[in-house]
C-alpha cells in the first residue's frame, strides 16, 4: 500500500503555455551566427524553467518564428530542478534542450562537462553586454556555459512606517543595523529587524559582501577557511549577537507567516536580492506604500560594497538534442527582445544597457511610495565585491547548511561552531567526490 510521504518540495506553478495565435511578425534576427538556419528549419525544443516571465517570452518567440515550438516545462524550482537535471544527465535520456540554472549551481555542472560551451555559437560576443558579476558566473575557464538571465544585487528593503513610528534611523552600517534591531525590538517586542531560520543563500551573500572568500576553488582543488575567513567571521559575529539577544524572528523565509510579517510590519527589514520587488507586490500587497529600499549596510562606514543574492542563467546541456535552436532561444530570451519582455514582467536585468538606462533608473515603484528603487539596485550591482566563487558542489553545500549552521538558529550551537561543522562536512564530501581538499 502506498501512503502519503510528507516531504517539502519547492516547486512552482506549471507553466503550460497555450498555443499562440500565429501572428507572423517580420522575423528580425539579432546577429548572423551559424545557428540562424536552425530557426528557419524550425523544430521543437524543451525548456526546463520556473521563471514566470519566460511564459510571455516563449509566446513571442514562437510567434516570431513559425515552425518553432518551445515546450516550457516547470520541473520544480531550485534543488528539485537540479535533481531532475542531474537524473536526466546521468540517465542520458529525457534531457531538456534548455535549462534554467542558478549561478550557484552552474560550477557543478560545468565541472562535469554537462553543459554546452556556447563560445562555439558565438556567445563570446556578449562579453560586456552583462554586468561583471553575472558574466563571471557564466564563464568557466575559457568556456561560456550559459547566458545570464537576471541578477540579484543585494539591497536593504525596510519598512519605513515601522522605522518612522519608533523614530529609528535606517541603518547604514552593520553596527547601526544591530543597534536598530535592539531599538525596534525594545520599542515593540512583536517587531524583529529581520527573520532568518538558517538561509545558506543569505549567509553566502553576507560573507561575500564582507569581502570573504570562505572557500577557494581552483579547478579540482578546493580550499576551505570557514573558521578563519574574515567575511565568515563578520557574518558570524553580527548574526550571533542578534541570535543571542533574540532579535531575529525565527520564521522561515517564503512561508505564509513570512509574507504575513512583511505585510504587517513585524519583520522590519530584508537584506535580499533586487528581484524582490515583484514578490513583495505580488505576495505582500498589504505592505504597499510602507516599504522602501536602501543600500546594504556597510561593514566600514563610508564604504560602498555589495554582493549578489540569487540570479540564474539559461544553459544548454551538452547532450541536448537541438542545441542550435536552443541557442537561438536563449539568445532571444537573455540578449534579444526577450529581455524587455521580462523586465516588463517585473524581472531584474543582468544586462548593462538596461541597468544603466534612463528609463530603468527613473522607474517609480508604487509599492515603495514612488521611490526610484532601481537606482539603489543599479548602484549595488556596480558595487558587487569581486573575487567570489561558488563551490563546485554548492547545491549540496546549501542543502546541508541547516544541519550545521542552521542548528545555531535553534539555539543548539553557535554560528561559529556551526560554520566549523559545515566546513568539516564539506571537506569530507569534497574528498569523497574526488576533489583535492586543502
Amino acid at each position: 500500500m502506498t501512503r502519503i510521504t510528507p516531504r517539502t518540495r519547492r516547486v512552482l506553478i506549471g507553466t503550460a503555455v497555450a498555443g499562440v495565435a500565429s501572428l507572423s511578425l517580420a522575423a528580425c534576427s539579432a546577429g548572423a551566427t551559424d545557428t540562424d538556419d536552425a530557426l528557419e528549419e524550425g523544430g521543437t525544443i524543451t525548456v526546463w524553467a520556473w521563471e514566470p516571465t519566460l511564459e510571455q517570452v516563449v509566446a513571442d518567440f514562437e510567434a516570431e518564428n513559425p515552425g518553432v515550438t518551445v515546450d516550457l516545462v516547470n520541473v520544480g524550482t531550485g534543488i528539485d530542478s537540479y535533481t531532475a537535471l542531474s537524473n536526466a544527465i546521468t540517465a542520458g535520456t529525457g534531457l531538456p534542450d534548455v535549462a534554467q540554472v542558478e549561478y550557484y549551481a552552474l560550477p557543478q555542472y560545468a565541472l562535469q562537462g554537462a553543459l554546452q560551451d556556447l563560445t562555439e555559437y558565438g556567445a563570446d560576443e556578449y562579453e560586456g553586454t552583462y554586468a561583471p558579476g553575472p558574466w563571471s558566473s557564466v564563464t568557466s575557464g575559457d568556456q561560456i556555459i550559459g547566458l545570464p538571465m537576471d541578477s540579484g544585487p543585494m539591497a536593504l528593503f525596510y519598512n519605513k512606517e515601522v522605522f518612522d513610528q519608533y523614530g529609528i534611523e535606517v541603518p547604514t552600517t552593520w553596527d547601526e543595523y544591530l543597534q536598530a534591531a535592539r531599538d525596534l525590538h525594545a520599542a515593540n517586542p512583536d517587531v524583529y529587524i529581520t527573520n532568518d531560520s538558517g538561509d545558506a543563500g543569505l549567509a553566502a551573500s553576507i560573507m561575500w559582501q564582507a569581502g570573504g572568500t570562505p572557500w577557494t576553488v581552483d579547478e579540482t582543488t578546493v580550499g576551505f577557511d570557514l573558521t578563519g575567513d574574515e567575511g565568515a567571521q563578520r557574518y558570524a559575529e553580527v548574526w550571533q549577537t542578534m541570535l543571542d539577544e533574540g532579535l531575529v524572528s525565527p520564521i522561515a523565509g517564503w512561508s505564509d507567516e513570512w509574507f504575513a510579517g512583511l505585510s504587517d510590519g513585524t519583520i522590519a527589514t530584508l537584506p535580499i536580492g533586487a528581484w524582490m520587488p515583484a514578490n513583495l507586490e505580488g505576495s505582500a500587497p498589504d505592505g504597499a506604500g510602507a516599504w522602501r529600499v536602501a543600500p546594504m549596510p556597510q561593514w566600514e562606514e563610508g564604504e560602498v560594497t555589495s554582493s549578489e543574492n540569487g540570479g540564474s542563467s539559461l544553459a544548454i546541456p551538452a547532450d541536448a538534442e537541438n542545441k542550435e535552436l536552443a541557442y537561438e532561444f536563449i539568445e532571444y530570451a537573455n540578449a534579444g527582445d526577450g529581455v524587455q519582455t521580462r523586465l516588463d514582467g517585473g524581472a531584474f536585468p543582468a544586462t548593462v544597457a538596461d541597468l544603466e538606462s534612463e528609463e530603468f533608473l527613473s522607474e517609480e515603484f508604487e509599492y515603495f511610495g514612488g521611490q526610484q528603487a532601481n537606482q539603489v539596485f543599479s548602484e549595488s550591482s556596480a558595487a558587487v565585491v569581486e573575487g567570489w566563487q561558488y563551490l563546485p558542489f554548492q547545491v549540496y553545500a546549501n542543502t546541508v547548511f541547516g544541519d550545521s549552521v542552521g542548528q545555531a538558529f535553534l539555539g543548539g550551537t553557535t554560528i561559529a561552531d556551526g560554520l566549523a561543522a559545515w566546513q568539516s562536512t564539506l571537506e569530507d564530501y569534497g574528498t569523497e567526490q574526488g576533489f583535492t581538499v586543502e
Binding site: 500500500m1 502506498t2 501512503r3 502519503i4 510521504t5 510528507p6 516531504r7 518540495r9 519547492r10 516547486v11 512552482l12 506553478i13 506549471g14 507553466t15 503550460a16 497555450a18 520556473w50 521563471e51 514566470p52 516571465t53 516545462v73 516547470n74 520541473v75 520544480g76 524550482t77 531550485g78 531532475a84 540517465a91 535520456t93 529525457g94 537576471d150 540579484g152 523565509g253 517564503w254 505564509d256 509574507f259 504575513a260 505585510s263 504587517d264 536580492g273 528581484w275 524582490m276 515583484a278 514578490n279 505580488g282 505576495s283 505582500a284 500587497p285 498589504d286 540569487g310 514582467g345 517585473g346 524581472a347 531584474f348
Partner: protein
C-alpha cells in the same frame, strides 16, 4: 420474556448491555476528556481548513486563524482556483480521477480475482504465495518508489500516466483482505451446489461469488482509493510534466510558487484547492461507509 431472551444471546452482548449507558450510566471524566481531545485533534485541521479557505489572502495574513475574516470569499476563491492558470486545477482533478478509477479500480479487481482464487482453490505453491503477500504488506510503497523509478526509466515509462497507474494496480494488503474475506463469505458448499447444477468456474465466480464478495470489494476499493488519492511520493518522482500531475502534487507546486523570484504567493488558492481536494473523498466515504463497516465485520464473525 425479554429477560430470558437476553440471557440466551451471546455473552459479549450481555456484558456490553450491563456496562451500557441506558440502565446504569457510568461516566468517566478521564474517558470524556480523552475522547474530547481526540475529537478536537481530528476536527481542528478540518475546521481550520474550511475557515481559512473562506478568506482572502490579505485576511489570511491579518486575521485570527480559527475565525472567519472580514470577508467571506469562499465562492470567489473556488472560482479562482478552478480558473487559475487556464484551469489547470481541473486538469489535475481529472488526472487524479483517472489514477483513482484505473489504478484503484484495477487494484480492487486484481485483489478480488487473486483473493478469491487463493481462498477457494488449492494449487501448488500456495504457501509460497501467502508468504510473498504477507511480506509485501510489510514493505512500504515509498521504499519501492525509487527502484520502480529506475526500472520505469529504462522502460521509457516515466513522465507518463502509466508510471503512476501501473504501480497503483498492486495492493498486497487488498489481496490479503480479499483472501480472508472470500474464505469466509463464499461458502464452499454453495460453490459445490453450483458445480452440481453444471455451472463452470467462471460462471460461479461472476454470478455467485461476486455478489457475496461485494462488501469486501467496497472495503478494498476504499482503501486503494484513499491510497491512490493521497499518493504523493510516486507521482513526485515519476512525473515531470505538470499536465500529468495529480492534485496533491499540483497543490504543492502552487504552494511553492511563493518561494521563487517573481513568483506570486497564492496561499488562498492552495487552501481552497485543498478543501476541494478532500470533498470527493468525504463523499466517497459517506456513500461507502456502511459497506466498509459490514465488510470488515463479515470477515471477522463466524456466522
Amino acid at each position: 420474556m425479554t429477560t430470558t431472551r437476553l440471557l440466551t444471546v451471546a455473552p459479549s452482548v450481555t456484558r456490553r448491555r450491563r456496562l451500557g449507558t441506558t440502565d446504569r450510566p457510568r461516566r468517566s471524566v478521564t474517558l470524556t476528556v480523552l475522547t474530547a481531545i481526540v475529537l478536537v485533534y481530528s476536527l481542528i485541521p478540518l475546521i481550520w481548513l474550511f475557515i481559512n479557505a473562506s478568506k482572502t489572502q490579505s485576511d489570511l495574513f491579518s486575521t485570527f486563524g480559527l475565525w472567519f475574516g472580514d470577508e467571506f470569499a469562499l465562492f470567489d476563491n473556488i472560482a479562482r482556483a478552478l480558473t487559475y492558470d487556464d484551469g489547470i486545477f481541473l486538469r489535475w482533478f481529472g488526472n487524479t480521477l483517472l489514477y483513482v478509477v484505473v489504478g484503484a479500480g484495477g487494484a480492487t479487481l486484481l485483489a478480488v480475482l487473486g483473493g478469491y482464487a487463493l481462498a477457494k482453490y488449492e494449487f501448488a505453491g500456495k504457501r509460497a504465495v501467502f508468504a510473498v503477500v504477507i511480506g509485501a504488506v510489510a514493505v512500504p510503497g515509498t521504499a519501492l518508489a525509487v527502484p520502480t523509478f529506475l526500472m520505469f526509466s529504462s522502460m521509457g515509462l516515466t513522465n507518463t500516466p502509466w508510471s503512476v497507474i501501473i504501480p497503483s494496480l498492486i495492493s498486497p494488503f487488498g489481496l490479503y483482505l480479499m483472501w480472508t474475506f472470500a474464505s469466509e463469505a463464499v461458502p464452499t458448499e454453495l460453490m459445490e451446489a453450483a458445480r452440481i447444477d453444471g455451472a463452470g468456474e467462471f460462471r460461479i465466480f461472476w454470478q455467485v461469488a461476486l455478489r457475496l464478495l461485494a462488501p469486501g470489494m467496497v472495503t478494498v476499493l476504499l482503501f486503494t482509493m484513499v491510497a491512490t488519492w493521497n499518493n504523493y511520493f510516486l507521482p513526485l518522482i515519476m512525473l515531470r510534466d505538470p499536465d500529468w500531475y495529480p492534485l496533491i502534487i499540483g497543490l504543492n507546486q502552487w504552494n511553492a510558487q511563493a518561494a521563487t523570484a517573481g513568483g506570486t504567493a497564492i496561499f488562498d488558492l492552495v487552501l481552497t484547492g485543498s478543501l476541494l481536494t478532500i470533498v470527493p473523498l468525504i463523499i466517497a466515504f459517506l456513500f461507502l461507509q456502511r459497506y466498509w463497516q459490514s465488510g470488515l465485520a463479515a470477515g471477522s464473525v463466524k456466522e
